[in-house]
Symmetry: D3
């Protein structure tokens, strides 16, 4: 009996999309206003899903409070009120902070800390109209 448990957390951050090897023209042609030089930002919603069997006594796949504490410590406390291009140690240099790439990096960063059940999905919403999901493969 595998149950999927999801915890939502939020963070607010600045970013821009910019390939440093490209000219300003090519950046603006590719990324539009997402390449504006003085940054813009979003209220991100992060949904972390783990899967496993509920414990026969507690009924928990994982203690949702503990899951929240881990995600806050490892991910959202680092990302909240940050500049995703400049301030995030675990974002590889030069990697675009798109929703897609952020989902992958958050997965990789979080994976070692999920114990006793399995990390299943990282879903990240950038606006009410755009989100990305990554399942680890």
């Amino acid at each position: 009996m595998t149950v999927y448990l999801t915890r939502r957390l939020t963070f607010n951050a600045a970013h821009k999309l910019w390939v440093s090897e490209w000219s300003e023209e090519r950046n603006l042609a590719t990324f539009g206003k997402c390449a504006n030089k003085n940054w813009h930002g979003h209220n991100y919603q992060l949904f972390v899903t783990v899967k496993g069997q509920p414990d026969p006594l507690t009924g928990f796949v994982m203690d949702a409070k503990e899951l929240k504490d881990i995600v806050e410590k490892e991910i959202t406390n680092v990302l909240d009120h940050s500049n995703l291009n400049l301030d995030v140690p675990f974002l590889p240099k030069g990697m675009q902070p798109t929703t897609e790439n952020l989902a992958i990096v958050i997965w990789q960063q979080l994976l070692p800390f999920i114990k006793g059940c399995q990390l299943h999905c990282i879903k990240l919403t950038e606006t009410e109209n755009i989100f990305a999901e990554y399942y680890g493969e």
Copy 2:
């Protein structure tokens, strides 16, 4: 051509998390304020997903009104304004009413009543930050 059809229903209920074999201390250490003795409660949202082929004439995988009637009769009329620890006949004695366990029990209770298509998923949201999903295995 398999389409997945989902119907949302809501119910409001009280519960607490408590292992009767444990001391009050261990319960509070494990469950925090979820173990408060006088109960607390939630506005639950239940998403029932069935899958199948749309009927060539009606275009229905299942009549959504009929699905709603079945879920109300078998599940939400029983759970709404109830105490999940004390009042629910189909919740096994001593089973913690966590979101995870509730999703499993709702699946088992609903399964015999879904005819002409297949039950696919029970998703239950406890707050805007926590939800569980169960796919029957």
Copy 3:
């Protein structure tokens, strides 16, 4: 230049509606399933609105973080995971914990702690379909 600033906080609690001077019959006739003896509960959303002039330097009517801290300390830490009929010191004995009465009592409890601007409105949502607002008079 008067600006209205609103902070949302949430709490989850159990309650029931019951007039102790009345028979069970009359209670059930009046309150329906809201009078079920073993309680039910809700995810409440509390919107606290203050009004005033933004400070010329900080741009704050009130520091939203400070407003959050006050409301948490005085209100939501007390109400969260509580039984509103049994556990809340500032709810007068015998007062029904309806959304309407809760809004009034939260106003009265919070008023002495709002300094440097004015408390304007307490809005409390009980479900996605019901909410109450109180403006202090």
Copy 4:
């Protein structure tokens, strides 16, 4: 590394459910008020999900702006403020405009225009309580 990228778009349309080979009585018995002769309507939300590997330079599975432009041109500009029974060229004659069938038809209509990654899912919400998902098989 496969990431799933989703774009939400909206459209507002009228429809009714009606099998022309059936009597009015049988239509009303089957579809209830959804068969009312003068139509009714909905605010639809369409979620289009594509999957693929993020581009190493841009970080895009697909440019979300380009995805939006394609879905608007091929789907929502056609469906918005339309009558789904009468006005939609790509809806087969006599096919019921249920959420299920609309999801299938939107998939088929959109598929040829998704290049460089794969169409993964069409999710269509009809109301806050009903939605359908189609994965192309």
Copy 5:
């Protein structure tokens, strides 16, 4: 002590905007795609607000269940799955079914049925981006 109590209800309906004294050209120039001849539709959300003093025993400004029953009987059962231009007896002939006019007409239709407290506001949302409010004057 005046408290404002609000109940949300929903209905789904078709309409179009069209002045019969005008040419098709002028209608399309004025109303754009809202004038499309085969109708379109919306999921409306109706928020009915009443105000009054909570009853000392029940804590109710008005029984929210009773308020719901009245609004369903007098308003949403009539409007749900209807064509707002053709099917609504209480909408004056030739009156455009805009959100603004609907709010006024719903107020007038509901007013005689609110007893023991005062009708305060009719709020009607047409889409997630547009709503109208009417306070009776």
Copy 6:
């Protein structure tokens, strides 16, 4: 018969809170992580409310499409994907881009363009937990 009509628009922007006359220490003590030097950002929701009498023929207080066009041209096209501290011509130099101040400045910027009815309220939500409202006085 005065009806209030509201249009929602969104924009995504970066900002920080920082008083240039103050030391870094005092800024961090006052604004916390909102003063982080490399900016952060938000998905803002802007609700513009106008009031007036519905036109007897069109049923419009104001054409909601026209209202949208004006707000886009004068406000959200300027603010979207901008840095609120650096890029906004109509934001007075040194004024903190708090939600409160932004609401005032948007009011002042928009007022001359609202014709045939009255601007009533600017509501700006910064996160799901914080919003400000300004009524012009």
